[in-house]
Structures are given as C-alpha cells and as structure tokens.
C-alpha cells in the first residue's frame, strides 16, 4: 500500500481490519457440537420419515469444504403421489375440520420450537448452504419463526381477509423452494398455507435439504396431524412431479424465471392457483443528495448479503454522475474489508457459494462481463483452498445492454452504471425484464417517494435495503413473478373469496 506524500502533509495510511496486512481477525467459529445431523435422511410423508420407494438417494455436501454431510432420499413420482395423497386425505378429513383456533395453535407451536432450536438450525443452514452464521443466526432463522408466528394468528381471522366476502382454503398446495434461504423459504410457503387451512407438499432444493428436514422433525414434535405438511426431497424431476401433480390445487414456486415460465405454461388452462417468485436484477439508485457512507453500506448489504444469492439483490448500482467517483472509491475501500471464508466463523461477511454449479455460472458471467467491455474490480482478500468461493466483484463502466446488467447472476457481482438526471436513472432502473425490487438513496424525502413510486417493482427500499418482515408483502412485477408472499396480500394467495352473497 503506497500513498503519495506531498509537502503539505502525509496521507493517512489506510488501516484495513480483516485484510491481509497483518490486522486480521482471529477465527471465531461457532460451536457445532450440539447439532445432531444424521447420515441419512428420508422423505417426510404422512407424518413419518420413509425411504424413497425405489430406494434412491442423493448427497448433500458442505460447500465450504466440499465434504458430504448426508445421504438424502430422492423422491420419485410414486413418492410424490403418496405425499399428495396424504396431503389430500389430511385436508379432507382433518385439517379442514379443525376449528380455526386449534389450527392456529399448531402453527404457533411450530414458531415456538423454531425459536427454541434456533441456533441448531442456523448452524445447519450454514453447514449445508454456505451462508455466514451471522446471517443464518440473525436473519434466516428468526424470520422463519416470525413467519409462522405471524400467520398462525390469521388462522381464526380469515373472515377479515377479503372485505365483504368470506374466505376458504384452496386445498392441497404443491410448493418448490430454492437453496438461497432454505428454511426461510420453507416458512414463507408453509406458514400461510397451513394457517389458511390448506395442506402442503414441499420440495426443498437439492443442495440444501437439511433444515427443511429438521423442520419436518419440528412439525412432528409440534404434533401436527400426519399429512398436513409433507416434505419430499430431490432435484428438478421431483419438483416437476410436485407442481404438475393433477391433485394439487395450488402451486407455489420460488426460483428462476426460466423454470417459472415452464411451470406457468404447464398450468395454462388448468384453472389452478399459483404464485411465482422469480428472478430479479434490482437497481440500487444513489442520488447526489444521498448520505454517501450510509449508501455505501446499503450497496454492500444489497449485493453481498448471502453471497448475492438473493433474488431481490441490488445487483445494479446506478449512481448519479456528480457523486460517482466518491461513491465508487468508498465502495471499493469498504469491499476490501469484507472477509470471505468459513461460513461458521462469526467474522465472516461472505460465505461459500452454494454449489459448484452456481460457482461455474458466476465465473462464466465474470468472463462475459469482461468480454463485453465492462471493467472488473475484485477485492484482494484471501479465500480458502477448498470449497466454492467468489471475491466481491464490481463491473465498472457497464452498459445497459451488457448481459451483466440485464441478466441475473446470483452471486457477489455488482454492475455499476452512472446517470445524470432523475428521469434517466428511473428509465435505466426499469430497463430490464425484471421488476422484483429496487433501492433509492436520497436524503430528500419527496425525491425518494417520487422515485420509489416510478420504479416498476414489487418491493422498494428507500435509504435501506434487503429488509424483510412477515407482515410486509414481497413479490415481483413483470418477469419477476406473479403473486405476493408475506402480509395479508400473501395470505390471499392461499385463499379464495367466497362468491358474492
């Protein structure tokens, strides 16, 4: 690190805690000795854990070490059939017959046990998926519990869901979730569904099945009637069997826009209910009247939270020309302090990329961005030898037509563009097929409101980013999805209004 010295004085040397310059943090790993993981996990169907009918399994591994954690049953069509049949039976015979208040009590129980076993779940999440323990401990697991707690209370209040109308559940919901927030996505799917009186068949992602299977244990521990929640593990074929099952009344999918379109096509004309939470390419707009240091924190949180494996990540930085140099310089300095490494270390900022396949995809985009002419910047932090890692990355001087601007990378890669006027910034923000989220940084309240109201996206953060809450509806405009999750709007998608009197 050399800084030019002038006769007027010395430039202060930059002190970078956590960097490779001798000021590193001592390791602070989370203890794992209280976490029980089995070598083998079955499918959770009709209240029991069973092997797949054809006995097939797949491995789930720790992306930080590439070591296998467990063998997990691979559900085939026959297993999905059994799970849907169990869900149907539970819906008809038990769940829809229960007094709503009692249904709610079961859901509350799940919330409580999730809180009790929170640390175990956080560690399992970080082991199986690679996310930093700080995030799984402070974000994923508490929010998952909060979701169950929030929706539990709706169970006996459904008459207030649709003003002027009664409400009734849809039946059996088939749900497929991704690997970026495994337990939280399970909560987003299961909590509103069962609180509203539906039963579910959930398929977790193949790289992160463990916390969903621990949730199955918790659901059993909470005493839920068999079949109300069924969890079938597997990859794309299992997911396809769930969403295309003829006896599923409602499909809920979180994942890529590409797969979402296939599902939507398969559902055409079926009259089935569906919600799709798909990809994003959110713009984080920084205006010249923003509090720059706060904005830089927001940019970092926006794109590097959960390794950038976030559908609503602020993966495009749009910064007003007059402050672009300052913002980008401060952003680079801040990025240099980010620690990439052991997900279980409480100092870690950026954990492991979730899988080899995802790392390959990110690295492909790193090549694409460079080939298209954007200027890459990557931090110099050390990364472990084994495991899947990606240093925080910028693509400076990106153009609107660049693929790294238009396409979802789902990694710690931020495309940076500049704009001059407010209208230009808004136009650039809206110029992708996606519309999931967006961020606005300005200390002028009127401007922040104007910009948030003109961005075509379902979630807007003004002077904050990546905040979530069970009471706050979440979901996309345009090709980022159809429907909402969270809040009363999210409840609507698991109910239907009764016909007018």
């Amino acid at each position: 690190m050399t800084e030019s010295t002038q006769s007027t004085g010395l430039a202060a040397p930059k002190l970078r805690l956590g960097g490779a310059d001798g000021w590193g943090y001592a390791p602070a790993p989370e203890s794992t000795d209280h976490v029980e993981l089995r070598d083998r996990y079955g499918l959770f169907i009709d209240g029991d854990f069973t092997d797949a009918a054809d006995g097939r399994t797949f491995e789930t591994a720790n992306p930080a070490t590439e070591e296998k954690i467990a063998d997990v049953a691979l559900a085939s069509d026959a297993d999905v059939d059994a799970a849907v049949a169990a869900a149907r039976r539970a819906y008809e015979e038990v769940w829809s017959q229960l007094p709503p208040r009692e249904r709610g009590k079961y859901v509350y129980r799940i919330a409580r046990v999730l809180q009790e076993r929170g640390r175990e779940l956080a560690i399992t999440e970080s082991l199986d998926g690679g996310k930093p323990i700080r995030e799984s401990r402070d974000v994923d697991i508490p929010l998952a519990a909060a979701h169950f707690f929030y929706y539990a209370g709706w169970a006996d209040k459904l008459d207030y869901a649709f003003p002027g109308r009664g409400a009734r559940p849809l039946g059996v919901a088939g749900q497929v979730i991704p690997w970026n927030f495994p337990l939280l996505m399970a909560a987003w799917k299961i909590a509103p569904a069962i609180a509203a009186g539906n039963t579910v068949v959930l398929k977790p992602a193949e790289t992160t099945p463990l916390t969903a299977l621990k949730l199955a244990e918790i659901i059993r521990e909470a005493g839920l009637p068999p079949g109300v929640v069924n969890i079938v593990t597997g990859a794309g074929e299992t997911g396809a069997a769930v969403v295309q099952h003829p006896d599923v009344d409602k499909v809920a999918f979180t994942g890529s826009t590409e797969v979402g379109k296939l599902i939507r096509r398969a559902l055409a004309g079926s009259g089935k209910h569906y919600t799709l939470e798909l990809g994003g390419k959110a713009a984080n707009l920084v205006f010249e009247d923003a509090a720059v240091d706060q904005a830089v924190e927001g940019i970092v949180n926006g794109i590097f939270f959960n390794q950038g494996h976030v559908c609503c990540a602020g993966s495009r930085l749009l910064v007003q020309e007059s402050v672009a140099d300052e913002v980008i310089s401060k952003l680079k300095d801040r990025m240099e302090t980010l620690i990439v490494g052991d997900p279980l270390d409480k100092n870690t900022d950026i954990g492991a990329i979730n899988s080899r396949a995802q790392l390959d995809k990110i690295e492909e985009y790193l090549e694409i961005g460079e080939a298209e002419g954007a200027a890459p910047f990557q931090t110099s932090c050390p990364v472990p030898e084994r495991g899947y890692w990606c240093r925080p990355t910028l693509f400076l001087r990106a153009s609107q037509s660049h693929r790294v601007v238009q396409e979802e990378i789902f990694g710690p890669v931020l495309a940076v563009q500049t704009f001059r006027t407010v209208d230009e910034g808004i136009a650039m923000a809206n110029n992708t097929p996606y519309g999931l989220s967006g961020g606005v940084w300005s200390d002028k309240g009127a401007k922040a409101f104007r910009v948030t109201s003109r961005i075509r996206a379902g979630v807007l953060w003004a002077n904050t980013y990546n905040k979530f809450d069970p009471t706050a509806p979440f979901g996309g405009y345009k090709e980022s999805g159809i429907g909402r999750e969270g809040g009363l709007a999210g409840l609507h998608f698991y109910l239907q209004p009764e016909a007018a009197a």
Binding site: P163, V459, L460, A462, N463, T464, D469, P473, L488, A489
Partner: protein, 292 residues
Amino acid sequence: MSERRPAAAADRLPVLKTHKVYVGGKFPRSESGRFDRALAPDGTPIANICRCSRKDVRDAVTAARAAQAGWAARTAYNRGQILYRIAEMLEGRSGQFEALLAAGGTAPDEAAAEVQAATDRLLHYAGWTDKFQQVFSSVNPVATSHFNFSILEPMGVVGVLAPESPLLGLVSSIAPAIAGGNTTVVLVTGSQPLPATTLGEVLNSSDVPGGVVNILTGRRDEMLAPLAAHRDVDGLLLCSPDPDVTRSAEIEAVHNLKRVAVRGHEDWTDIQSPYEITDLQEVKTTWHPIGS
C-alpha cells in the same frame, strides 16, 4: 334509429353509420382494409364492421402504452369523474343502445334493462376509484424501525377479450380495468359488435383520454394470440367460458409472464365488486427508515 338498412323512403334517404374501431382517441378503419358483417339473429346483414389484423392489435397496444402513464397519474378523483361522465353519456344515448341491442336480437324490455345496468355499473366503478386503495392497501407493522406500506398500482396495459355480453359484459370488463389506472386494448369478437363500436363514441365524448380504451372488432382467432403474446402488454382479462380459448391465450401470455384473469360468466348481472379492480393491480411494498 334502427341500424338495419331501411328501404329508401319517398321523401328522405336515411344516413347510415360507418362502424369503425376506436384507437388512440380516433376512429380509424382496420389497416387491413378488411371487413366482416354484423348480422341480425335471422342472418340479415345489419352493418359492416372492421375485421382488424394483428397490425391493428400492435397499433392499439402502442396507443394504450402511450396513454398509460398519464392515465395512472390522474388523480383518483379525476378518474372517478371521468367514469361518471361515461355513465352520463351512456344514459343520454340509452335509446340508441337499446336499438342496437334490439337489432342484435335482445328483447326490447331486456335491452332497456341492460343499458340501465351498464350505466349503473359505470357509476359503481366511478365511485371505487378513490376508495379501493383505502380498502386494500396496508401499513405493515414490521418489527424494525421502518415505515412500511403496501399500495396497489395498476398493472399497466391490459388486454381484454370482451365477453359475448354485448354491452353489460363489455362495460363490466372495461370499467374496473380503467378505474384502477390501466389502459386497455379490447377485442370485440362476439356476435353483437355494434354496441362496442358505438361505446367508443361514448368514451370519446366523456373526457377519457385517447388510448385509455382501444376497441377493435374482428375475429378472435386472428387477434387474441398477438395480443396475448405482445411483450408490451402487462395483463390479460379473458372473458370467455371456453377453456380452450383461455388456455391458448395463457400459453401465449407466458412470454413475458402476463398476469391473467379469467372470467367465464355468461351472465354479467352480478359481476360487480372491487375485486374486479384489484385483480388487475400490482402490490408494491415500500420501506422507509424511521430515524433522524
């Protein structure tokens, strides 16, 4: 008033009306130059109507897109007054619409009832423009220090496959869409298109900005697929009881993940609720920190 071409009377030859489409606040003919015949129930031709092409569909989408931001930016109060104005104009021309319905085969007393119901329906949605947001938006009590709210915003450009119900169904499908700030491209493909072409004249004299409602006549199998596949259309309202029709349109709609609402009713008498508006809205959640 009859649209049936009357024989030349001794003293005066009636002036017959050319039925054109309504696009961007103007009344063009189809760019294709083609026509179809509107028929009485006994098969007698009543009038020529435009047989619109896929190019007409694209032009109508362009007009609807151009009008959308301005229409959505109107105050809810203003949109309510404009919908009320449509009701006023329809009331004033009730005799004409009764005659058009009767010419298409509706019994005279039913025709009068249908015009009245359509007028009242416009009034109903006029009243909702500044109320549905209050009923359906929310302030969300998040567990962090943020002011968090969810509001409804219009989807944008909505393609409407109009129902067979020639006036009440037509009005019931258009009114909630525009009440919520959407602009529309309406495909009229039923057996009685003349109330629709005449409704364009009502809209045009009701302070509805050009492009907010665009009405095309023609054949469903020529117009629906290009509309359903169009990437600048955000939502579809498919008023058809035929599952094959809605299924194929839904497949076309997958290109840009249009939102699709299906209305299979044949009787539109009771199809009136704020949910007709909210089904064509998006929910936007905004977070603002609370602090100093």
